[in-house]
């Protein structure tokens, strides 16, 4: 699979998790906390694999990588803040909503910009990167790494 397709699938998966979160009743604090943890895990693995494999390889084809990396840093800072809130509180709800909006803005720039730049590298290179990304994601998921 091409690296860009794999990353776009991750984007869709995390968007689905946000939808699930929004459908969970406000008074179901533990489900909300669980879902948020899953979202954060998903984002952590995605961002770490992207930074270790995808961004360094694409940097020569795209001038948007600095922005993409600073977007990750911003996301991590906000996630760290939201983690401090009580999952039943309105601050938590507002915080998760902001995390979702940051993710959507990031996805918009990445899919509309970085991925198009990456296409210049050609199918072979992107498929090779895809395999490498999948491997890295699996290793990260196994180790249960949490970057934020």
């Amino acid at each position: 699979m091409r690296a860009t397709e794999l990353l776009a699938r991750d984007h869709r998966a995390v968007r689905d998790l946000f939808l699930q979160f929004e459908r969970t009743p406000l008074d179901d604090g533990s489900s909300r906390q669980d879902l948020f943890d899953r979202i954060v895990d998903e984002l952590d693995v995605h961002a770490a694999a992207e930074e270790a494999v995808f961004y360094p390889a694409v940097r020569q084809a795209s001038r948007r990588i600095d922005d993409a990396e600073s977007g990750h840093a911003h996301l991590r800072a906000i996630v760290a803040e939201v983690r401090e809130y009580d999952p039943a509180s309105s601050d938590f709800t507002a915080g998760v909503r902001l995390v979702k909006r940051i993710v959507l803005a990031h996805v918009m720039e990445e899919e509309g910009g970085v991925f198009l730049d990456a296409e210049r590298m050609g199918t072979q290179a992107l498929e090779r990167l895809g395999a490498e990304l999948a491997e890295r994601k699996e290793a990260l998921a196994r180790s249960g790494r949490r970057a934020a």
């Binding site: 922005d67 600073s70 977007g71 911003h74 902001l98 909006r101 940051i102 959507l104 803005a105 910009g113």
Partner: protein
């Protein structure tokens, strides 16, 4: 007059919507409006048009309903702003009179921006475009005289010369040549970003205006001239938008748009002499300060960047309308013979290769002549001379010579001569409405099914003129 827009407070968004009566304000009187007030009205309509076009494009790329909603809320206000501004132009101002105003904006705005542009490459791009708009004014001025019998100075009020520059028939380029090299967003001066966006917005509205109103005249010469010049304006939009860094994020572009709007309204407010219209600029500036705050807040929350990183804190003054005569004259003298070559560069006419890409394009579009040349010839036939207006009599006297000497080596067939005495009288035997058996519409591809073609079924081929 430096102002930090981030220190100012605007009108809260919920108070920015106005009633229809407040939206459709009475227009200015064309008989006594100041030429530069009209220029500000025309420019700010273009700035708001770009705001709407950009915001819709942004919304279509955006998957965040909250952000889409915010964009929609600001668009609603800016829609009203644009209505108010554009409709300050009165109903009795003819399309051609307004067109002269549009070209005055294009010339004086481009010249001011070029003069104050810190980036040498961007400056060169502006100067190149300047000479083209300058020549458009001269072409439309012939038409204004022919159709309305008016002097262009009724509109220009002597602030802008009417002279040929790089001839319009040479403005048609291979599309790839119009793509220039962009600035880099992290290195460019904020003023360059504002200048480029302002000029692109102005040219875009000019293109849209000509494309929309060129059919308001029945005369084929007028229709063709509008078609030709609106096509050049399309090239100008291509040229100026290609100067922008494509890696600016949507949110950064949004901030830049709002900052540019603030800068333009602020300049209008500071320089306006009509007290009623000054109030309009002041109110809209207050609206835009809030829009800038909202866009900046979104950039901060969603991308973790400060808006000042994108546009700085010092407000430039792009919408400054003042005399640029000396500057424009110098650019005409030095750069009329410049042409676009590949790689976003320029070369002199005598350096162009024989297979210069734009020759091929010009051969196609000019196969039946260049309307921008026909209109000069028509004026010569009607009044004996072409119409020129310049403060410097020497410049006025040398106009025709200059016009012809800056032509491509491969000019269109109907190029008007340098002096009217060289013009052979044209005998017109046909009655009005009779095309002497020639099809009125000519298909450049010689397709027999093209409307108006002699072979089109159901039409009478080769109709002869009526006998008296």
């Amino acid at each position: 007059m430096a102002m930090n827009p981030f220190d100012e407070r605007g009108i809260p968004l919920e108070r920015q919507i106005r009633t229809w009566k407040q939206v459709a304000l009475p227009p200015y009187r064309k008989q006594d409006v100041d030429a530069f007030t009209r220029c500000r009205v025309i420019l700010m309509n273009g700035i708001e048009m770009e705001a709407a076009i950009f915001s819709h494009a942004f919304a279509r790329a955006c998957d965040d309903p909250d952000l889409k909603g915010q964009l929609a809320a600001l668009r609603r206000v800016e829609h009203q702003q644009q209505n108010t501004i554009n409709w300050l132009n009165p109903a009795d101002q003819s399309v051609l009179e307004t067109t002269i105003g549009y070209e005055q904006v294009a010339i004086e705005l481009t010249a001011y921006l070029a003069r104050t542009e810190p980036d040498e490459y961007v400056k060169q791009a502006f100067e190149f475009g300047l000479l083209e708009d300058f020549d458009h004014l001269y072409r439309y001025a012939q038409l204004l005289d022919l159709i309305h019998g008016k002097d262009p100075n009724e509109i220009l009020q002597g602030r802008t010369d009417v002279l040929p520059a790089r001839p319009t028939q040479d403005h048609h380029n291979d599309p790839f040549l119009r793509v220039l090299n962009h600035y880099e967003k992290t290195r460019a001066h904020p003023r360059s970003k504002v200048n480029v966006l302002t000029l692109m917005a102005g040219e875009q509205q000019t293109m849209n205006f000509y494309k929309t109103v060129g059919n308001f005249y029945g005369s084929p010469e007028a229709r063709q001239l509008y078609a030709e010049i609106s096509n050049v304006e399309e090239e100008h939009v291509t040229q100026y938008e290609s100067l922008m860094d494509p890696t600016e994020t949507w949110l950064e572009k949004w901030v830049m748009h709002e900052f540019t709007e603030v800068a333009n309204y602020y300049t209008c407010m500071e320089t306006e002499i009509d007290p009623r219209i000054k109030k309009v600029w002041e109110i809209f500036l207050s609206c835009e300060l809030e829009h800038l705050r909202i866009a900046g807040e979104m950039l901060r929350r969603l991308q973790g960047k400060e808006p000042q990183e994108i546009c700085g804190t010092e407000l430039p003054t792009p919408a400054t309308f003042e005399s640029n005569r000396e500057y424009v004259t110098r650019v005409i003298k030095e750069q009329s013979a410049l042409r676009l070559v590949s790689g976003g560069k320029w070369a002199s006419l005598d350096e162009l290769p024989e297979d210069w890409a734009s020759f091929a394009y010009q051969r196609v579009v000019h196969e039946h002549g260049a309307p921008s040349e026909s209109v000069v010839r028509l004026r010569m036939e009607a009044a004996g001379v072409e119409l020129v207006r310049a403060e410097d009599p020497e410049l006025e006297a040398a106009a025709g010579e200059h016009r012809v000497s800056s032509l491509d080596p491969d000019p269109a067939a109907n190029t008007a001569p340098a002096t009217y005495t060289a013009l052979e009288p044209v005998r017109r035997e046909a009655e009005p409405g009779d095309h002497g058996g020639e099809p009125r519409l000519v298909n450049p591809l010689d397709d027999p099914t093209w409307p108006g073609s002699a072979e089109t079924p159901g039409r009478k081929p080769g109709r002869k003129g009526k006998e008296r």
